[in-house]
């Protein structure tokens, strides 16, 4: 099959993605997600369209690149900012300044920016291109590793994800699909034969709370988990433990019960304590980080939760 025409929107390919499944993995991150979790640590993955990212520290001032970004901008959203001291001490420079209200996300400035301070949060690609890139890492997959297709929500670009999985499967690569579970069941049925392990999030057992936290109810997600586990799918379930939001005893207990009810399909449950590492990314996108008042849960609480999950006979670990 010719995969040249199957295109996808991705925002990163990351090697040594050791947190995305067994062994050493390379992860393909697709862009666009139907959910919008409050604690999302990759906000750049949420919208399907590419956005303009700005890593201000890399901007060397408009003089050096002769106003490249300012001149490229058709709407006047980019201007020269107030003079600031250059990091290398060479004098005062005027860094690019974005008026997000005027920005139409045409991304012409990102193409013009030489030090890549302005950048598009993703690129269009084809299954062939992604395959050629990730297959180079094959030498690291000897011991259970492989490729993880992640997001955003990879199932939202189903054609691309399915064909990438098929292409990799043909080469004997171990494939994980990191999914929210929020996609029609028939699509999961179609992709199931090509996925060795689903990395599957269960975020909240109460659908109203679920909708409040991530924007959609949990029915479809829970149904798909039941579908996959009862049709031979292997699941590694991941439970985010977010203080004040998902860490109530009843919710966690119900989550454990649900995982246990899925039977043998659940290979592992990972409890993921909240961390703040995604915070900086919001700044680069000009977004507001909403969980300003949440701190990571303490170790003792996580240990207790782990014991509770284990008491359901689940193979569970803190991550």
């Amino acid at each position: 099959m010719d995969y040249k025409n199957v295109t996808g929107h991705i925002y990163d390919i990351q090697g040594y993605a050791v947190h995305d499944g067994p062994g050493i993995r390379t992860t393909v991150y697709t862009k666009g997600c139907p959910l919008s979790c409050l604690w999302c640590h990759s906000p750049e993955s949420q919208k399907h369209e590419f956005e303009l990212g700005y890593l201000q520290v890399k901007c060397l001032g408009a003089d050096i690149c002769r106003n490249a970004c300012v001149d490229a901008c058709p709407t006047g959203a980019l201007t020269r900012g107030e003079p600031v001291k250059a990091l290398d001490g060479s004098g005062m420079i005027q860094k690019a300044q974005i008026d997000r209200a005027k920005c139409t996300r045409c991304l012409k400035c990102a193409g013009a920016c030489i030090p890549k301070a302005l950048y598009a949060t993703g690129w269009d690609t084809t299954v062939d291109e992604v395959y050629d890139r990730v297959i180079k890492d094959r030498g690291f997959f000897q011991n259970g590793g492989g490729i993880t297709i992640s997001g955003g929500e990879a199932m939202a670009q189903f054609d691309f994800t399915l064909n990438l999985a098929k292409r990799l499967k043909d080469s004997g690569i171990h494939i994980c699909l990191d999914t929210t579970g929020f996609a029609p069941e028939k699509l999961f049925a179609e992709i199931l034969p090509y996925i060795d392990l689903f990395l599957y999030d269960i975020k909240h057992m109460d659908t109203v709370m679920h909708k409040n936290l991530v924007g959609v109810g949990n029915e479809l997600i829970l149904d798909n988990a039941r579908f996959l586990s009862s049709h031979g799918g292997a699941l590694q379930i991941r439970v985010p433990v977010i203080p004040k939001l998902t860490n109530r005893e009843t919710n966690l207990r119900q989550t454990a019960e649900f995982c246990a009810s899925l039977g043998d399909g659940v290979k592992l449950v990972q409890l993921l304590p909240y961390h703040k590492t995604g915070r900086m990314k919001y700044e680069r996108l000009g977004w507001r980080y909403k969980l300003t008042n949440v701190e990571p849960p303490d170790d003792a609480f996580m240990e207790r939760t782990l014991e509770m999950f284990q008491s359901f006979g689940l193979n569970c670990q803190l991550y």
Binding site: V18, I64, D137
Partner: protein
């Protein structure tokens, strides 16, 4: 994962505290240099090897013997614990005159304030006078007496004149024989040989006669020293508590026995290694004397001790801990600082000891190798492997360096422990790939049973343990170091060195005079060959300096081949011979060549003249071009075949050609890839086509430049793995840095192991890694007192982060960080 956090015993903790205390109160080893000077003054006519052995005997017979109250093990190369060693015979009179001949006020500020390495007024005066004697009698004098004029005229001229720092060391003598056989047997053998010669003396065997007499003298010397320590223990026992007295008397009995005879238990085995190490250090003139495979021959002893109930497992761990602390007590003053540096350091609350840690492994460049294979190819891991790894894990010390050999026999627990240890103490141990390193030795003609017994010494250099005079000492000296980079500079600038403005003789074009990239490559090869030929020539002369007047009898007693042939190691007596040199800055050279190739000859977007002008101007007025190069040209380190192919080409040519040259003593030249000073080296290097400005750091060893890594860690590792490591016979490593998040979780150890094994399967030979978050290092800069245990892997050694000079700290923080 197993829990390795077992408590350190109070006794070992006391030893560790004592060491930290002493670091603020170090003394220079004047004793050794005084005994040497007096011996040489009174034996001027004696044949060099007899003179050397005679001095060693005097040293063993007259040196001060100190037994401290709390010591588990004995011995130091000087009269005090952690005496700072140096070799007066290769220091150069100038150093003494400028530092000890300085004004009283400056001398005191450098050598006589609290925290300084103490030199008394009497010692100052003695060393100044001694320097007068050595000026015409030291190693530099021998070199000046036989080097051709061309050596002094070239860029290495100042160096050739004094030969400071070109120690013919970096080797691993036969510590196994020290432990399991002893010097008594060596002495008997030498005496038998002398009797044979006496019966059939001819001009041809007179030199052998001298050699064997030196062997007898050296064996007598170390056996005597051990007995004197026995005496010291008995003396000390008279005033000790009953419990300590019993221990001291037991130690005394052991000291009466060991060195002459085979060690009978773990303590004796460890102590024999330590005394021999002291002798090697005191002999001087060579360094990085590295005990290889100690677990292999101490394992049987400790397992027997535990089986017979002589000691408990906990006591065995105490011995292992104390051994590592004791062998790390050797400190060598290299490089030698001047008064300005010392005074500046003291003003910042630092000591000479702190200054040493920035540039090398302070324990005299010594390195311990663990694990590997027996000569029959089976795995060689035992309880001692685990005990010593646990010691490093517990003690968090950076010296001596530590190497772990891995192969298909390596037990899971040793992998786990090795990785856990390196996570805590950056780069200790470094991991060595048996498959490729053994093959390298086979390729050199070493039989398989010897190849399987290799050890690592110094930084990363492999050699056959106990059988090879490997002299990998020319790292950064004759033609090593920045040779490849200099070749590149000559291709660009012709014979005018842009840094100094000096003109070199000969014809060489400038960058804008070449028509094709192939022409540039051909010229690169021509220049490189000329440089390497010259390096080889100089190395033969340097080896001859030592053969002529500076033999190493302490090494020859315990190096296979010497006793059999009647030749000192410096005369070619060892079973295997070699000399080692390093090349460096692979990425700076590769990326520069690739920029020229791509921009000037493929894309034709920049002319060679424009690029030359930009570099010549140190990019001033050409910032846009520089930015385009940095951001748009794919560099080495991204698994991109175009630049990587150039890296492979330049490295393969360099290693193959150097390795093909004849080495001293009919041995091999071994070229490796390692740099200890890319920050300092960068300061001496003009701007390069890869967008680097004058003075900026070079790329570290074989690693890509950190800011050029754009495709993540696996692509980085793959690029480095493409280099022809099977030809890096002097060693070379990838050196990675992780943030803590990338190695958290229960599976992290298994994943790091997979990464190491993947790199090794792809052909890599050595793997170093550190776990250190930028935040942690920033905090350590602010509050160094709270981060004394923070150890990071620099290159062939690990350093206490807080001891690094500020520039090196910043450079380390800027290293590529694996963040997942």
């Amino acid at each position: 994962m197993a829990n390795f956090d077992l408590p350190i015993s109070d006794r070992v903790q006391d030893l560790r505290d004592k060491r930290k205390r002493i670091n603020k109160d170090l003394r220079l080893n004047v004793e050794r240099n005084r005994i040497l000077t007096e011996y040489y003054k009174t034996h001027e006519g004696q044949y060099p090897i007899l003179k050397r052995a005679g001095y060693l005997y005097d040293w063993c017979a007259t040196r001060e013997i100190n037994v401290d109250d709390d010591d588990i093990f004995l011995g130091d190369a000087g009269p005090h614990t952690r005496t700072v060693h140096f070799d007066i015979e290769q220091t150069g009179a100038m150093w003494f005159r400028s530092n000890f001949g300085d004004t009283d006020e400056r001398f005191r500020a450098a050598w006589q304030v609290p925290g300084s390495v103490w030199v008394s007024d009497e010692e100052r005066e003695y060393l100044l006078k001694a320097a007068d004697f050595w000026e015409d009698n030291d190693i530099g004098a021998t070199a000046r007496g036989l080097f051709p004029d061309e050596f002094f005229a070239g860029p290495m001229g100042a160096f050739a004149k004094f030969l400071n720092g070109s120690y013919p060391g970096h080797f691993t003598p036969n510590y196994e024989k020290v432990v399991l056989t002893g010097f008594g047997a060596v002495r008997d053998e030498a005496k038998a040989k002398l009797a044979e010669i006496k019966a059939h003396t001819t001009t041809d065997n007179v030199r052998q006669d001298l050699f064997y007499r030196a062997m007898v003298k050296t064996c007598d010397a170390i056996i005597l020293m051990s007995r004197r320590y026995a005496e010291g223990c008995r003396e000390k026992a008279k005033t000790a508590t009953a419990e300590r007295a019993a221990e001291l008397l037991k130690m005394a009995d052991s000291c009466d026995w060991i060195l002459e005879n085979p060690a009978r238990n773990f303590w004796e085995g460890c102590q024999a290694i330590l005394f021999y190490q002291n002798l090697l250090t005191a002999e001087g003139v060579h360094w990085a004397d590295s005990p290889a495979l100690i677990d292999s021959y101490l394992g049987g002893l400790v397992e027997n001790d535990i089986a017979t109930g002589a000691i408990t497992r906990e006591e065995a761990q105490d011995y292992a801990d104390a051994f590592i602390l004791q062998i790390g007590n050797q400190i060598i003053m290299f490089p030698k600082p001047n008064n300005d540096q010392l005074i500046a350091a003291h003003n910042e609350g630092k000591t000479l000891y702190d200054l040493q840690g920035g540039g090398q492994n302070v324990a005299a460049g010594s390195l311990i190798t663990l694990g590997g294979q027996k000569s029959d190819g089976t795995g060689d891991y035992n309880l001692a492997t685990e005990l010593f790894l646990l010691s490093y894990y517990r003690l968090r010390v950076a010296e001596p360096s530590l190497a772990l050999r891995v192969n298909k026999h390596t037990p899971d627990r040793i992998w786990e422990l090795g990785i856990a240890c390196s996570k805590r103490s950056g780069g200790l141990p470094q991991f060595n790939n048996d498959d490729v390193i053994i093959q390298q030795l086979l390729d050199k003609g070493v039989p398989i049973e010897d190849a399987r017994r290799y050890g690592i010494f110094g930084c990363v250099e492999p050699a056959v343990g106990g059988k090879e005079w490997s002299m990998a000492s020319n790292c950064g000296a004759f033609g090593g170091g920045t040779g490849m980079l200099q070749t590149l500079q000559t291709v660009i600038h012709g014979n005018r060195d842009p840094m100094s403005g000096m003109e070199r003789p000969g014809d060489a074009k400038k960058l804008y005079e070449y028509e094709t990239f192939e022409e540039i490559q051909a010229e690169f090869v021509r220049l490189a060959k000329a440089g390497l030929d010259n390096m080889a020539r100089m190395n033969h002369f340097a080896a001859f300096v030592f053969e002529t007047a500076w033999p190493a009898p302490s090494v020859s007693t315990m190096t296979e081949g010497c006793m059999e042939s009647g030749k000192d190691v410096t005369w070619g007596g060892a079973k295997y011979n070699g000399t080692g040199t390093m090349t460096n800055a692979i990425a700076t050279v590769t990326d520069s060549l690739y920029v020229i190739k791509k921009l000037c000859f493929e894309d034709k977007s920049v002319t060679t003249r424009e690029l030359y002008d930009a570099i010549a101007a140190n990019w001033e007025g050409h910032e846009l071009l520089r930015l385009k190069i940095l951001n748009e040209v794919p560099f080495y380190g991204n698994d991109n075949d175009a630049p990587d192919a150039l890296a492979t080409w330049v490295t393969d040519f360099w290693l193959s050609y150097a390795n093909s040259l004849p080495g001293p003593n009919h041995g091999h030249v071994n070229m490796g890839i390692l740099d200890l000073a890319w920050v300092a080296g960068g300061k001496r290097t003009w701007a390069t086509p890869d967008g680097r400005k004058t003075g900026e750091t070079l790329s570290p060893s074989a690693d890509p430049r950190p800011d050029a890594v754009k495709n993540g860690p696996l692509s980085y590792v793959k690029s480095v793995a493409k280099l022809p490591w099977d030809k890096a016979t002097c060693g070379g490593a990838i050196n990675l840095r992780f943030d803590a998040n990338s190695v958290r979780g229960e599976e992290a150890t298994a994943k790091v192991r997979e990464l190491i094994q993947s790199f090794f399967t792809m052909g890599g030979i050595q793997f170093h890694f550190t776990v250190a978050d930028t935040e942690v290092m920033r905090a350590a800069q602010k509050s160094p007192q709270d981060y004394q245990d923070l150890i990071v892997r620099i290159a062939g050694f690990s350093a206490y982060f807080t001891h690094l000079p500020f520039d090196d700290q910043e450079n380390y923080i800027a290293r590529y960080e694996i963040m997942v």
